[in-house]
Assembly symmetry: C3
Amino acid sequence: MSDNVTIGLVSISDRASSGVYEDQGIPALKDWLDKALVNPVSYVERLIPDEQPLIEATLSELADRQGCALVLTTGGTGPAARDVTPEATLAVAHKVLPGFGEAMRAVSLKYVPTAILSRQVGVTRGACLILNLPGQPKAIRETLDGVFAAVPYCVDLIGGPYLETRPEVVQAFRPKSAQRRA
Amino acid sequence: MSDNVTIGLVSISDRASSGVYEDQGIPALKDWLDKALVNPVSYVERLIPDEQPLIEATLSELADRQGCALVLTTGGTGPAARDVTPEATLAVAHKVLPGFGEAMRAVSLKYVPTAILSRQVGVTRGACLILNLPGQPKAIRETLDGVFAAVPYCVDLIGGPYLETRPEVVQAFRPKSAQRRA
Amino acid sequence: MSDNVTIGLVSISDRASSGVYEDQGIPALKDWLDKALVNPVSYVERLIPDEQPLIEATLSELADRQGCALVLTTGGTGPAARDVTPEATLAVAHKVLPGFGEAMRAVSLKYVPTAILSRQVGVTRGACLILNLPGQPKAIRETLDGVFAAVPYCVDLIGGPYLETRPEVVQAFRPKSAQRRA
């Protein structure tokens, strides 16, 4: 029996949240996670504009009151004035994990040179890991393919549920001492 | 017709600014940009010592009053006590783009292991992108060759002019939706 | 005649410092350095729990009063609540060298995907370079193999002794103008 897990999905976009176009971020995140995770997942979804106080409040609520072990955001990580997702994420962080930002950019850089411009970060808040993903569905998939192997062990270390992945999608890595016996 | 663009070039060196030796940074920056850019460029040049308040004032002036879309600094990014270019750049930053520092170091690391020691950063200030380049002409060229492809789209996103490059020097990358029609 | 050098070795672990298991970090660091350095070395060793104020006080003492040119820590860099080595290191830093954290993670990432989770940093404090190494002896060796080439020139630049390495272990890199004549 796998642990239940609650995952927050936050799409941050002025235009999608006001209905100018349809949000593609949350469906892309959910599609990838449904394929990758063995655990039964409850999703908590939010579609919000690029307003820093609202992003901060949303991230805090998902981590502190909804009990999310993992929160994935999509959108708002570029250099434009309205892009404030990283600022909001850092503002609610307990610990910053610079390796996630570096690795996510390094992965995207294999596909487009403008991956340099992404300011995405990974942080913990209590027992919740928060990762900023890109906005485009294709880039979301590439990034999760590239870094998710390290997510289950990270969630272990901060006191969350034991995440199990389908090896044909992504092989979770844990040191032997941290692996649950079958 | 290409957009006009104003670019700031700031060489930061106690010795070059006091005449102990000739500045090689600004000529190397200008030489590379003249080859790479199609746009008509107005350069604003400054040769100053490694004094943090003066560097901050210079960067702010170039961004805010001279209307530079891009400011390139050279020198002062190492670990020595007098190396304060990154501190000054971060002090005037509106947004930090960590991907530039990472990518510039990764590029230089292909040539010398001591590229690890560079603390160079990339930031925005209003509609201006500020990048810290190395001090040596060779390292300046290698770094610009390695990261400039992402600069034009970054300048677009912060509200600057449309930069066009000569593809034989560097191929500017923009998503299709951001490309100007011929 | 090579310069004398004082090097601080700090193992940070609740369990090793309370005797639950034997510390493996300091022996691994010392073993690597003994093989790599030509200089006569005096080691100053500390085995302490994951307590931020104690780590800060220890690092400051080694840099300021023991005259260490280099301090290597091991342990406490992960995402868990008790992992506070990077926080303590940043708190006593005069300059942060982001290239060390990036490069150390990039090196470890060749071996394990969870290297992303390490929050290790490199900083200077006066004439002392402080680097956070991983906790496992294998990872310590891999990391030092990967980044030490840049350490001697860094120590030069901050005013420390002239470190010389055995080229069969690691080839120190310095620009020609910084190389001492034989």
